[in-house]
Symmetry: C2
Subunit: 126 residues, 2 copies
């Protein structure tokens, strides 16, 4: 079952949308999924350990994709940037998550099978 006869494209993981998959953006979106009320720019930057410039750049990609909306307001007379995931972003993130779960399942199954059958691994050519 684990031989090369397996289906073409089984490990292609096309559903790993590159807009979401990039490490920093994955962190940003996961933060925003975990905070559906939204997050201030500074809190998001801190949680994701990004620089101002990096977070701004990734937010631009995410807003252009329609996954995140950024609003500006004033709080105690100071300008405040506030970020929220959109309904579209949430739906796309959930699609992405289901593929990520498949990667984890494929990997966990492989690791378990490998550990359970050391004799099989021993058949490998030198």
């Amino acid at each position: 079952m684990s031989g090369p006869e397996r289906a073409a494209g089984q490990f292609a993981y096309e559903g790993l949308d590159r807009v979401i998959h990039e490490r920093a953006r994955l962190g940003v979106l996961t933060s925003l999924i975990a905070h559906p009320k939204g997050l201030a720019f500074g809190d998001l930057r801190r949680m994701c350990q990004l620089t101002d410039g990096n977070l701004s750049r990734h937010l631009q990609v995410l807003t252009e994709a329609g996954f995140v909306e950024v609003s500006k307001s004033f709080e105690q007379n100071r300008p405040q940037t506030f970020c929220r995931i959109t309904a579209e972003g949430r739906a796309r993130y959930l699609d992405y998550l289901s593929v990520l779960e498949q990667v984890v399942r494929d990997a966990a199954a492989a690791v378990t099978a490998d550990a359970a059958a050391p004799g099989l691994a021993g058949l490998a050519p030198a």
Copy 2:
């Protein structure tokens, strides 16, 4: 518990090694983890739905990182390129996998909490 008071860097996911995280290489390494005896270049290309050039480029990154070894041999008088994950590659992939599982857990917890507490989500500013 889900407010901005959460720890700095909680969503940084620094353990998502970029060498492994890139979508095509994640597919290549997952294929090779699932086939510890190794895979012929053509089988790997088919499973990951990559072009010859793309697979070659990603294999170069992975061999330079020491995660994969590529050997050339002859089979029925035809040159054969064979790819295997190294012990180092396997260890690093398992480290990566544990972070990926954390992302899935964080996201699943957030999605579940959000669905279970629509009243909380309703507190979000307009």
